[in-house]
């Protein structure tokens, strides 16, 4: 019976904590929704087709076959029909990939089809952006399937192990497949894609936890109140906290970055490492301010703990760490835009994978700095309201 009374007491107490109840019942639904959108479809890819010479006559065959794949979205390539110079075509195709218009482009040059009909190997050019292995592999897969499908009517055998349809092809000698990567290469691994975003994620995660809990303790213990009675400005206290955490978070950033670079075993330049560190440090400052804000919003340590999954989980799903956000509905894409790690990851990949200078990520850096200013402002307003009204 006493156990029952304990249970009654627990139920009564929790049912009066609306925030805990909302978290308890709604959080799993939110997470399950995110998981659903993350895994419900195969990756959708944008593919363009560029044909020259005799291949032009078969362009619609390629397009309609690729379109049969529900995970392929065909795009029209903004390249003039009269342009035939291979070097100019190469540049224009890469430009389209760089702007994000296309994930992959199938290019069949002047002689490709005639070579095939004449029994020669011929060369099929496949352009990919290359920085996202999931997308790259989806593009390769879709094109291989389409070629396999077309093999009975056209001499486009992509490899010797294709389906029985290949046997009916007028030329079942596999084509030479020339892959053109804007970034990376055939050796580019999935891990190379993920590792550059991990330092920002871990620094964000641990800094957020450390600052939330530590500052919550400062408030509950009453030491913050004592500091506010002393001739110390609120901003001075916060600035002190930022500097104190900065020491540890910077050290953590250095250790994590060094470890990751060692793990990837890539030869990164010093300027690349320095640029990467700037992104990680900005991320840390966002997390630090967000942690302080969470500690002010929470009434106790238990509520402070609830902020951890609330802040971290959406970023795991939506911040482009594992899943491409483009597969999610617009609502989630908007949420993704207001998540700091989305921008930190975009900058980290731009620096580490695409080897672009820090200045190329100016927009992401500006957004991260904006996050710091906005969160700091909200935090000081919340803090002053909380600590001056009770």
């Amino acid at each position: 019976m006493r156990s029952v009374w304990v249970a009654v007491r627990v139920i009564r107490e929790i049912s009066r904590d609306r925030r805990t109840l909302a978290f308890f019942f709604l959080a799993p639904l939110v997470v399950m929704t995110l998981v659903y959108y993350a895994i419900k479809d195969d990756q959708i890819v944008n593919i363009g087709v560029v044909t020259r010479g005799a291949a032009r006559f078969f362009e619609m065959d390629f397009i309609s076959t690729l379109e049969m794949d529900k995970d392929v979205r065909m795009i029209s390539m903004p390249i003039p029909d009269e342009e035939t110079d291979p070097q100019t075509l190469d540049r224009l195709i890469r430009q389209e990939l760089a702007t994000g218009g296309a994930d992959g482009v199938l290019y069949m040059g002047e002689k490709m089809i005639t070579d095939r009909f004449d029994g020669r190997e011929g060369t099929l050019h496949l352009y990919v952006e290359g920085s996202k292995p999931i997308i790259t592999s989806a593009v390769f897969g879709a094109i291989a399937d389409a070629m396999d499908e077309l093999a009975a009517s056209l001499p486009v055998v992509i490899d010797s192990s294709c389906s029985s349809l290949c046997a009916e092809s007028v030329n079942n000698k596999p084509m030479v497949l020339e892959k053109h990567y804007s970034y990376g290469s055939d050796d580019y691994r999935m891990v190379d894609f993920f590792l550059p975003v991990l330092p920002a994620f871990f620094v964000f995660f641990f800094t957020f936890i450390l600052s939330t809990i530590t500052f919550q303790r400062e408030r509950l213990r009453g030491t913050l109140e004592r500091l506010l009675v002393a001739p110390v400005g609120f901003y001075q206290v916060i600035a002190g906290y930022v500097m104190g955490f900065f020491t540890f978070a910077s050290l953590q950033s250095i250790i994590v970055v060094a470890f990751i670079l060692k793990l990837i075993q890539f030869d990164f330049t010093w300027s690349q490492t320095l640029a990467f560190s700037v992104v990680v440090l900005l991320t840390m400052l966002v997390a630090l301010n967000l942690g302080l804000l969470a500690s002010f919003l929470a009434h106790n340590e238990f509520q402070a703990l609830q902020f951890i999954p609330l802040v971290i989980l959406p970023q795991i799903f939506l911040a482009d760490i594992i899943w491409d956000i483009n597969g999610f509905p617009m609502f989630f894409r908007i949420i993704a835009w207001v998540l700091p790690l989305t921008h930190a990851n975009a900058a980290a990949r731009d620096i580490m994978i695409r080897n672009n200078p820090l200045s190329n990520s100016w927009m992401e850096l500006l957004i991260l700095a904006g996050f710091i200013v906005v969160i700091f402002t909200v935090m000081t307003l919340v803090a002053q309201k909380k600590d001056k009204s009770i």
Partner: protein, 250 residues
Amino acid sequence: MNAGTVSTEYILRMEDVVKTFGGFTALHQTSLTIPGRMVFGLLGPNGAGKTTLLRLVTGLISPTAGKLTLFGGLEPGASAARAMIGYMPQSLAIYPNLSVVENMLFFGRMYGMGEGALKTRIDEVLETIELSGRRDDILANLSGGMVRRALLGTTLVHKPKLLLLDEPTAGVDPVLRIKIWETLRKLCDEGTSILITTHHISEADRCDRVVFLRSGVIIGDGTPDDLTRQYQADDLEKAFVVATKEGVAT
């Protein structure tokens, strides 16, 4: 007025001060003048408004109505006023992973003390709170009584002119309670004004002047002897009981 110069006229003056939180009035229209160099007690049950009054003096909260001035004219919350106040809350508001001396150094620096003067002052305060021998011990390794003494030490380190103590002896054993009161009396003799909240009658009896508070209203004000006589009681405890029943504001 500069920090360090204290008006001898009064240390605290409240004129028709009211403090409400939402629809709840924690302190009703209260007027009170406290001269310097005395131990002034605020006696009342839990929820009487003692802590609210103390927090108004610190400047942590502002009056809803009325006027409150310190040291002959300073607003609470003004930098000069804050520099002259030492505030010891009910909770153990001190850093458990720092040593006694590290805590004192930290709070001294928060009050802008120079390093040389601070170190000399810490030695004095450590003598006063009888923790010289444990100065480098981490607080987490000290007994509850020692931590409370260290807390008092951090409150005294910048030589405050006005000491605000919110139930400083709550949960303290009788021996330590006597020691704390001896320290307070000594500080008062040296010129520090002390405003102390308590719900222990025996402690109120040690004050130079006492205010009875009930539900945010002053229902008695005077020396312990005056109040005892005023309510024709044998002692302060009985006087408080009578005042509480009568609910008469003096």
